[in-house]
């Protein structure tokens, strides 16, 4: 009786979870679609366009911060794409931290780096030590600061200590930007006034894209099944999750691959946290927590137009390490900012997005796997009819498919996206379906591992991704 009762309790919890997820994501999709429509309407009525900013002699200085760890085979296309930005007042600071693969040497060879006599001091709390500082003789906008390690967050902080820009754009060392990315990201700061603290944008998967000699990227479908499934995941995450939360004024996270910050806000917040592997999520939650405590509401803007391309892992080991790290970072961030949960002082973040993140996203892998096991067990023991299991599974799969295709459609309206030819839709539809049947469950198992590691505590480390970038990216 107790076993049957527990089974029913698990079923009820799983069903409740599923209903909240389904309703939540449907609402986010609707909000995201509405916001996309409004953005197109705003584009027509905009007084200052991106082109106005690009041409303006009074444009503010933007510092692009690129922390790099073992990125010798990815750094050059990234730096080339950054220096090709259509922005006059630009500063690019690359921080190779703890590199032993010749990342610095690659930059030296390509950009004729010359040593500079900068002061090497850093704050007492810094983890990495500055070993050398360089400036490019080929392009004066490029500066390089070599550090002894300390992690991605510490490398970003090191660059922020020396940034001269009013705005700082944090990007990953394996990401490429659209030529107008900086201008488009600065626009909300100018347009919406002083409340805007952070601007982020949608990110596309770089694998399979075509990189032109001028650094611009034409999106395309990857060849590898893993990358294809991540393409669907990225579209869902950015065009439903981020866009939906942003439309509610409750965006809880900005991707580390592309985030434009007001430098003064970032410095006032104390920079990135060097003790967590989810420093991007932690920083945004801290901004919500700190700034709101001080009585000022930070506006975090999300641009649904894809401005950045990033490489995703194509091997199981890298993907597994990445997902474990992400979930572990989520656990750490939720542990640190638990006070925001259902806290009315934090507005829509405390009442909507943080509970969704802290309860549902965090526990999703546990509930998903537990629910799968419980339903199978219940059906096997006759406690529940197989027809119910099959019908629920059918609904779960088709619902997931509808979300995925909705996200891909929202991605496509911003111009030529992954779907270059009509037949590409069939490929994506197929992989969106396959992603629901196996990959999702495997990812849930990895995230569960991350959840366990996060709860147990201990020091987490950043893994290394095996790049196949300009490597898998073909020149066209």
């Amino acid at each position: 009786v107790i076993a049957a009762l527990s089974l029913h309790v698990v079923e009820a919890v799983v069903l409740a979870f599923f209903v909240v997820f389904a309703v939540g994501y449907t609402l986010l999709l609707v909000r995201a679609a509405r916001e996309t429509g409004l953005e197109f309407a705003r584009q027509k009525r905009r007084v200052w366009s991106t082109e106005d900013l690009i041409r303006s002699p009074a444009q503010p200085v933007v510092t692009i911060v690129v922390p790099a760890h073992q990125e010798a085979d990815a750094i050059l296309p990234t730096v080339r794409s950054l220096l090709a930005q259509r922005w006059q007042h630009l500063e690019v600071i690359v921080v190779p931290n703890g590199c032993t693969d010749g990342t610095l040497q690659v930059l030296q060879d390509a950009y004729d780096l010359q040593p500079t006599n900068e002061i090497l001091d850093r704050p007492a709390t810094a983890r990495g030590r500055i070993q050398s500082t360089w400036r490019s003789a080929a392009d004066a906008r490029l500066r390089v600061i070599e550090t002894s390690g300390g992690g991605k967050a510490d490398a970003s902080n090191c660059a922020l200590e020396r940034a001269t820009g009013e705005f700082s754009l944090l990007v990953d060392a394996d990401s490429l930007l659209a030529p107008h990315a900086v201008a488009r990201a600065v626009l909300p700061f100018i347009e919406r006034g002083s409340q805007v603290a952070v601007v982020s944008a949608a990110i596309r998967v770089l694998n399979g894209a075509h990189v032109r000699p001028d650094g611009t990227v034409q999106a395309g479908l990857p060849k590898s099944p893993l990358a294809l499934m991540q393409t669907v995941e990225y579209a869902r995450a950015f065009h439903i999750g981020r866009a939906g939360w942003a439309s509610l004024g409750a965006l809880p996270v900005v991707s580390g691959a592309f985030g434009m910050f007001r430098t003064s806000v970032l410095r006032a917040a104390g920079g990135l946290d060097t003790t967590t592997v989810g420093e991007d999520l932690e920083l945004i939650l801290r901004l919500h927590a700190d700034v709101r405590r001080g009585g000022q509401r930070p506006e975090i803007v999300f641009i649904a137009e894809p401005l950045c391309w990033t490489e995703v892992p194509e091997d199981i080991a890298s993907l597994r390490a990445q997902r474990i790290r992400w979930h572990r970072g989520l656990v750490e961030a939720v542990q640190r900012h638990g006070r925001m949960l259902f806290n009315t002082r934090h507005g829509s973040v405390g009442l909507m997005s943080f509970p969704f993140l802290g309860l549902f996203e965090l526990l999703a892998p546990l509930v998903e796997l537990l629910g799968l096991a419980a339903l199978t067990l219940a059906a096997a023991t006759g406690a529940i009819a197989w027809s119910v299991v099959v019908a629920l599974a059918l609904f779960a799969v088709t619902f997931g498919l509808a979300l995925s295709m909705g996200a891909i459609l929202l991605e496509q309206v911003w111009g030529r996206g992954y779907v270059d030819r009509p037949r590409d839709v069939l490929v994506l539809l197929m992989w969106a379906l396959i992603e629901q049947l196996g990959h999702r469950q495997r990812t849930a198992a990895w995230r569960l591992h991350g959840l366990v590691l996060g709860v147990r505590g201990g020091r987490a480390t950043w893994g290394e991704m095996h790049h196949r970038g300009a490597r898998t990216v073909t020149s066209a």
Binding site: K44, R45, V47, W48, D52, L53, S56, P57, A58, Q59, P60, V61, H89, E166, F167, F189, I190, E191, R192, G193, S194, Q195, R262, S264, R267, A268, Q296, I384, A385, S387, V388, A391, L392, L394, F395, V397, T398, F399, L401, A402, S404, M405, G406, I408, L409, Q412, V413, W414, G415, R416, V419, D420, R421, P422, D424, V425, L426, L428, L429, A432
Partner: protein, 225 residues
């Protein structure tokens, strides 16, 4: 059980239909992009464009076919002409002379004067000299001076009153730098930006000022706003 099964099947059919509809819409968009359909191009609405153009004209600096800026000198009779400092100056009609009171006389035709000063401003490394050039550039309403003028106020080298006068001449273009300076860490710069934002930006001034004032506790920023 029957109800759950029917609801789930019905939900599945609806979701599946939505997925197929989205896929078809994607395919249509891809086909349209291949054939150069105007589905995602910007459509110009005359009723929107007209006020914007009028606003642009209102905020644009007044054209000056020939311009001569004579800055106040301490001892004009003692000026000793010096050769131009940057290569750009050789190609323009600008003459810069240096006297005991510093660089004082600039003359030339617009826009050569502005271009020469703009190039000079970019090359100049000395902070005080940069502010001087920016002030001269601002006098002729060139927005290239905006950032340097704000820097001057930030460091205390330049009086906010002088900067405000010059920034205002920069009009629409300077508004970009001013809007960005609304949350500058330095209160003097914030106060200056707050006092100018309604005059130089084509944004809704009331909204911008309300947003600006909310996080600014200090009276010097609130008063000019």
């Amino acid at each position: 059980v029957g109800t759950i099964v029917w609801l789930a099947v019905l939900g599945g059919i609806i979701a599946g239909a939505c997925a197929v509809a989205c896929a078809l819409a994607c395919a249509w968009l891809a086909r349209a992009a291949q054939h150069g359909s105007p589905s995602t191009t910007t459509v110009h609405h005359p009723e929107v464009q007209q006020p914007v153009q009028a606003m642009l004209q209102r905020h644009a600096p007044a054209p000056a076919p020939t311009y001569m800026a004579i800055m106040p000198a301490v001892q004009p009779p003692q000026f000793v002409p010096q050769p131009p400092e940057t290569s750009q100056l050789h190609h323009s009609q600008v003459v810069r002379t240096t006297g005991p009171g510093g660089p004082v006389v600039l003359e030339g035709s617009y826009p050569q004067l502005g271009n020469a000063l703009g190039a000079w401003l970019q090359d100049e490394r000395d902070e005080i000299e940069r502010i001087r050039i920016a002030r001269d550039l601002g006098t002729i309403g060139d927005a290239r001076s905006a950032r340097a003028l704000l820097d001057g106020v930030r460091t205390g080298v330049l009086s906010p009153t002088v900067a405000a006068d010059n920034l205002q001449r920069g009009g629409f273009e300077a508004g970009i730098a001013i809007a960005a300076a609304l949350r500058d860490p330095e209160p003097r710069v914030r106060a200056l930006a707050a006092s100018l934002v309604g005059r130089t930006t084509p944004l809704e001034p009331a909204n911008v000022l309300t947003n600006t004032l909310r996080p600014m506790p200090e009276p010097p920023s609130r008063r000019p706003s």
